[in-house]
């Protein structure tokens, strides 16, 4: 079983293309590293800390999105709204204490998103359509529950997320942990292998007797949990939340996933690659800022580079086969 689940890209004929792709990737990362390190002020503690904090929010969502892309379901347009809604739940339930609030919000994000995964897995419903429906329902439900008001913490405890451990922001530690756990699930557990297989060829997976409903539901559940974690970090940082909190995070997350080199067609990808993607985009933004580019030029250059990297990856993938 585990042999079957290894993506079939090991044939010797393709090694050349594979190495070429790898070379381009390493060269691109090296170029960005040189560009970053030669920028005055990049290595200052202030800028590194800002970078670490900034990547943790979108990073958590991006790791979650990787699971959805990996299982062949392209992307979800509802993860940003899930982030916001989980943040609302987290702040509102802080009156029960920090740890219970954390668990309640994580459970909320998990259940909401797992339900979408069930529809996608069981009925083979279209993932983008399901996510748009979920987005509408989340927006409506949140407006009903909050009356459209901002939510402030119902109790103490968010200071924990603003602290540092050994000089590293807690935000970043939680993000790193998310990446490590995500990568562990993808490459070291049975369910992770099944996700890869379902993503690369759902029909073969069904023929092999794999429960694709359970596999996709679990992938979505993990995605929801990741988005909820991102929401809690963001809520703790701003000290309040509304449904605008996560607006646009879907696009940033899928951009990071694609820049990291996870294929949009499913069946390949890893949390580690997404981590690289998040770092690349964040470093670019910081470097452009430090080099004194105006905000509008930062947007344009980031957009062009993201487009370029996505095209490079897609070309490399196509050549491999």
């Amino acid at each position: 079983m585990s042999e079957l689940a290894v993506p079939g890209r090991r044939s010797r004929r393709l090694l050349g293309a594979r190495q070429l792709g790898l070379t381009i990737r390493v060269a691109a990362i090296a170029a960005i590293a040189v560009f970053a390190l030669s920028t005055p002020g990049f290595l200052s503690p202030l800028s590194i800390n800002a970078l670490l904090t900034a990547i943790s929010f979108v990073g958590c969502v991006a790791v979650g999105m990787t699971f959805i892309t990996l299982t062949g379901n392209i992307m979800s347009l509802a993860l940003g709204a899930t982030l916001s809604a989980s943040a609302l739940v987290f702040l509102a339930s802080l009156s029960f204490g920090m740890v219970p609030a954390f668990l309640i919000a994580a459970l909320f994000g998990t259940v909401i998103t797992a339900a979408q995964g069930f529809l996608v897995g069981y009925f083979r419903a279209n993932p983008i359509l399901v996510s748009i429906a979920a987005l509408s329902l989340l927006l409506g439900g949140a407006a009903f529950a909050t009356g459209g008001h901002r939510i402030y913490p119902g109790g103490a405890g968010i200071e924990f997320f603003k602290a540092r451990i050994a000089g590293v922001p807690v935000n970043a530690i939680i993000f790193f942990a998310t990446v490590i756990v995500g990568q562990f699930v993808m490459s070291w557990t049975r369910i992770g292998r099944l996700m890869t297989m379902v993503g690369s060829n759902p029909r073969a997976a069904i023929a092999a007797g794999i429960d694709i409903t359970a596999t996709i539901t679990i992938a979505y559940a993990i995605a929801g949990a990741c988005a909820a974690i991102g929401g809690m970090l963001l809520a703790a940082r701003y000290g309040s939340a509304d449904m605008e909190l996560g607006a646009g995070y879907d696009y940033s997350a899928i951009a990071a996933v694609l820049v990291g080199g996870t294929g949009i067609s499913g069946g390949s990808g890893s949390a580690w690659r997404t981590f690289i993607g998040v770092i690349v985009i964040a470093v670019l933004e910081v470097v452009l800022l430090l080099r004194g580019f105006s905000e509008q030029l930062q947007y344009l250059i980031t957009g062009l580079i993201v487009l370029g990297v996505i095209m490079l990856h897609a070309l490399g993938e196509r050549r491999q086969g």
Binding site: Y122, N126, I132, A133, S136, Y299, L300, H313, R318
Partner: protein, 341 residues
Amino acid sequence: MKASARLLLSPAVRPFTIMVGTIAALGLIDRGTGYFFSVGTIFSVMQLFATLGLVALGLGLSMLVREFDLSVAGMMSLAGCIAVLTGGTSPWLGAGLGVGAGVLSGLLQGLIITRLGLSSVGVTLGGLLTLQGLTYVLAGNQTVSYPNMAVALGLNAPIAHLLSVRSAAALAVFMVAALVMTFTHIGRDIIATGSDRRASRIAGLNTDRIVIGVFAASGAASALAGVLLSYSLGAASPAGLSDVLAPAAAAAIVGGVSVVGGRGNALGIAAGVLTLCILRSGLSAIGVPPFVHDLVTGGILLVIAVLDAPDLARHMTAWRFSRAERLAHIFSKESRDGAAT
């Protein structure tokens, strides 16, 4: 009875069934107070239609050929900005440049997708970010105002109390799209490309040209939406239009466009957009809080998602079988028990 229900829910008719059902439901809730069935409601529905409709048409066209144009929101804000910046003295010039930019970016994206054989989600996501960046640069990271207020007033001036120039323009574009898709081979070619691209290519159809054309048309339609919106608001802003994608996709899908390609038409998309706009203005006219609109839209989309899911029929059959089997089991047990006593 069953046959007529099947006809009403068949893919080609369903968008209109949903629209009429929505109007009837809102009419019932309204109970003749006259807030819903009023000229004002129709006017505001058509104003919403003017913006959302064109974007949904563009996105829907891309879905017809089994692609997904994520960049529509970027096209919209870019074209709006270009029009406002260049159309100060001649609104036609601004509109032309704005729509031209939309066509050009659509062509470029279509070329990249077809010539390099890439997935449209990735390319148009990059396109979205790039177009947004370009808009920020052009607008200098701020809201730019349009000096020619006469144009703004003119575009929103009512025609026969029901339409404005803006919504009439959107309707006209839909008419043209519907005519082209019904009476020329282009419509057939688009459906063929979306249904089975490889078969269409083997049959001698230049599918690349169709896909590039569809992306150009999608760019043009969303750009026109952006131009009309920015002119009528008298301002363009690089931020704040990005939440148009989800409603536009929802409208196209309610309008009968299949997410797996090859099914849908312009009139259906128009009905889908109208349904969402009627829900929004109708509910607010009746005085229902806005969140109900989101909940109802989400509910409709969820039902469509499950109804259109390829495995629904398989599960239904399986359920029916297992129920029949259970019943047969119980009956046979009863008859056995009966025989024993």
